[in-house]
């Protein structure tokens, strides 16, 4: 055998190692200070760090905040997206929903949070629209709408951002659930839409979306940038506090941060476990209800409008917030309660241009490098899977999801220490490498099914004409899969552009991207400058998706038979 295929055979294992090694090493590095097991420890092995965490008065509220905001936002996002799908499935508006949601998916978490903050703040668009005629306010009211202590703003932001993701995951999984026929069968037996969907489609569907839901739950419990912008501050959520401790320059709270990270991992694990138990209970309940024959047609009239409104409000809020970012970036004088600025100006853009150029270039370079490597590895993995007849197990899928489910604050601080002791912190390459860990799973998830669904008869036909496997890959498979490959690349770009914590910690503050800058500007409150950063932060992924849609149309303009999905 030639050497090429032999190397190819090694790629899948190598890729999984590349994904899991940083997570595991980082976790070890993060957690060892919790027990004084690291070289920098002042007290030596022991439980001093755990005790100091226990002494922190914010511990209980911060932990509760993490669990409550995470569970409530995930539950809402899951229920609303399932409700929207159940209501819309087989109806003409379904395709429109898909088209509206896709762009929302590429909006980085930080930009989404900043947009929503502009919208709901006491001086935001909603307050302006209602003032002074309805509220009587001529000054922004002194209300704690943003950063409210109960975390409602944070929950709203998480729901708005995670709902599009879950909806698209559901839409991708639906074809494998025989949904159309099951809905017809249940309707012909007299069942309403919501009841029919819940009792016949959901059990099959849930299997397919379980891992994405776990990723959403873990993310929602531990999100840093959204919690910094929208969440409570005194105390902040546990993950934000961990980052505050871990980024203190004098390292005095490293042990406490490590102990808190350990607690965060345990909280996520316990919550995922509780969620799993709830799944089992609901599954049993649904089976019992299904066998009881209650048609539940009344549910449709009662809940369909509610579900649609609940689905529409966060999406519209997100759009409005993002539009607000754009307006602020060109706003001249804009006093409360005017709904629009008195004049528009490019002054903010001009002033920020030099910095913006520089950090946009860094952002784009990081995204291109990490996405390029991810794409090469994923294509090699999938081609290896095809050529050697590999059958990825459930474990492989879990490993793939590991970086998405493991809380970032649980392994990034450790990776940061590793990078620091290896003397590479603040370099471009380590930051690109850690981006790769998060980009790769998404690129894989996006590309795997179109790659596997490719018509194998074409490969056989090519081989029968004497083409080598390499030739089949480069000249048949890859060109025909141009559209999904570009879409996966666009997804990868969007993921990289949105990375906050990995860039902040591994970059040590010296690698500045649009996202790290936007988040650090958020506390300063200069809305015009924030607007420019957040707008560019959205523009980069949007351009990626535009290319992914446009390029194949251009290349295959005269080839109707090529799918342009």
């Amino acid at each position: 055998m030639r050497q090429g295929p032999f190397l190819l055979r090694l790629v899948p294992g190598l890729t999984l190692g590349l994904l899991s090694a940083p997570v595991i090493a980082g976790m070890a590095g993060t957690l060892s200070p919790a027990f004084g097991l690291d070289p920098l420890s002042r007290d030596g092995p022991g439980f001093a760090a755990l005790i100091s965490l226990g002494d922190w008065p914010g511990l209980w509220p911060a932990a509760r905040l993490s669990v409550v905001t995470g569970v409530v936002s995930t539950l809402l996002a899951v229920l609303i997206s399932l409700g929207v799908v159940a209501t819309m499935i087989g109806r003409p508006g379904f395709a429109t929903v898909q088209r509206i949601l896709s762009p929302l998916l590429s909006v980085p978490h930080a930009a989404a949070a900043l947009g929503l903050a502009f919208l709901i703040a006491p001086s935001g668009w909603i307050a302006r629209a209602l003032s002074p005629w309805a509220t009587g306010w001529t000054q922004p009211p002194d209300l704690l709408i943003l950063n409210d202590p109960a975390g409602l703003a944070l929950v709203f932001g998480l729901v708005a951002k995670e709902m599009p993701f879950l909806l698209l995951m559901i839409l991708a999984a639906l074809p494998q659930t025989d949904a159309a026929r099951r809905m017809t069968v249940s309707a012909s037996l007299g069942y309403g839409r919501l009841a029919g969907f819940t009792l016949t489609v959901l059990p099959a569907l849930y299997q397919q979306i379980r891992l994405p839901i776990y990723a959403v739950l873990a993310y929602a419990m531990t999100s840093v940038e959204m919690a910094m912008i929208l969440g409570p501050t005194l105390p902040p959520s546990l993950s934000v506090q961990i980052v505050l401790w871990a980024t203190e320059p004098n390292l005095t709270h490293r042990g406490t941060a490590a102990a808190a990270a350990l607690l965060q991992i345990l909280l996520v694990a316990a919550t995922l476990g509780a969620w799993r138990l709830a799944e089992l209970a609901v599954t049993r309940l649904l089976r019992r209800v299904a066998s009881a024959g209650r048609r539940g047609a009344w549910l449709d009239g009662a809940f369909q409008p509610v579900v649609l409104i609940l689905g529409l409000v966060p999406a519209l809020a997100l759009f409005a917030g993002l539009a607000g970012l754009g307006v602020w970036s060109v706003a001249g004088l804009w006093s409360f309660p005017d709904i629009l600025p008195q004049n528009l100006t490019l002054a903010t853009w001009m002033r920020a241009a030099p910095t913006l150029w520089q950090i946009s270039a860094t952002t784009l370079a990081l995204a291109l490098v990490s996405t390029g490597v991810a794409l090469a590895l994923v294509l090699a993995c999938l081609e290896a899977e095809h050529r050697f007849g590999l059958n990825p197990s459930a474990t492989v899928l879990w490993l793939l999801y590991l970086p998405l489910i493991m809380p970032q604050v649980a392994f990034l601080p450790g990776l940061q220490m590793l990078a620091l002791s290896a003397g590479v912190q603040g370099g471009f390459a380590p930051v690109a490498a850690v981006h790769l860990v998060f980009v790769l799973p998404y690129v894989f998830l996006s590309l795997a099914s179109p790659f596997r669904a490719w018509d194998g008869r074409i490969a056989v036909q090519g081989a029968a004409l004497g083409a080598s496997p390499d030739r089949v890959f480069w000249h048949l498979r890859l060109p025909m899969l141009l559209a999904p490959v570009l879409t996966a690349a666009a997804v990868g770009l969007a993921v990289s552009v949105g990375q906050y914590l990995p860039t902040l910690l591994i970059g040590g503050g010296r690698v500045e991207t649009l996202t790290t800058e936007a988040v650090s500007l958020a506390s300063g409150g200069n809305r015009r400058v924030i607007g420019t950063h957040a707008l560019l932060q959205m523009a980069l992924p949007a351009m990626g998706f535009a290319l992914a849609v446009g390029l194949p149309r251009l290349v295959f303009a005269n080839r109707r038979g090529v799918g342009l999905a």
Binding site: R182, T184, A187, S188, Y191, T200, S291
Partner: protein
């Protein structure tokens, strides 16, 4: 007015007329619609069951036992449907699938389900996983589930085409006999002349042209 009445039922998509039918299907009778694939057979079934996409233009009327169901949603039409596959729900037991079909207000649910199973030679199958059943058994359970919901008509979407030759005849006569016994008007969509002969009723194309089998 009993039976399934199609009055000038015409379905167009773009410039093409896919379906043009007038028919009266009496209780216990079968209207067989034959044609090559893409000839509008499934369009007709979608119109009858109420899942026709809006992009299709439909005129004419569908009445079931004197009730105009043309504009009713699927769940209010009281028509049962059997697909090519049995579409048994894999997460429910055999009994659970039948319970799904049996109306909630029916008394003695467990007893009725057991009795229904016994009647078709599947006594004691209530707790079985549908995946462990043979093709013929699955087909019987699927029909039972449909019939337990007490439909007033039965639509058959090539329900025998996936079965092998011997099983096919067996399942076909089972389905047709039981539906006849319940006095259900039936519409059978098929591309198999044998199915059409066995059904015994009139055979037409989706455009209403009689077919001799």
């Amino acid at each position: 007015m009993t039976g399934l009445h199609l009055t000038d039922l015409t379905i167009r998509h773009g410039d093409a007329t896919l379906v043009s039918l007038t028919a009266k299907v009496a209780p216990g009778e079968v209207l067989t619609v034959m044609g090559a694939s893409g000839s509008g057979k499934s369009t007709l079934l979608a119109a009858l069951i109420g899942t026709l996409p809006r992009s299709f233009g439909m005129t004419g009327g569908i009445a079931l036992n004197g009730v105009d169901v043309t504009r009713l949603p699927t769940r209010a039409r009281r028509m049962g449907i059997l697909f090519q596959d049995d579409v048994l729900f894999p997460h429910l037991s055999v009994g659970g699938n039948l319970g799904f079909g049996l109306p909630a207000r029916a008394p003695d649910r467990a007893k009725r389900i057991d009795a229904a199973l016994a009647e078709v030679g599947l006594a004691g199958f209530a707790d079985r996983d549908p995946a462990t059943l043979s093709g013929g058994q699955r087909a019987r359970v699927s029909l039972l589930r449909t019939l337990l919901a007490a439909p007033q008509a039965l639509l058959l979407d090539e329900p025998f085409s996936r079965l092998d030759a011997t099983l096919r005849e067996q399942v076909r006569s089972f389905v047709l006999d039981r539906a006849r016994a319940q006095g259900l008007p039936m519409v059978l969509v098929t591309h198999d002349a044998e199915d059409a002969r066995a059904a015994g009723g009139p055979v037409v194309t989706p455009l209403g042209v009689p077919v001799s089998v």
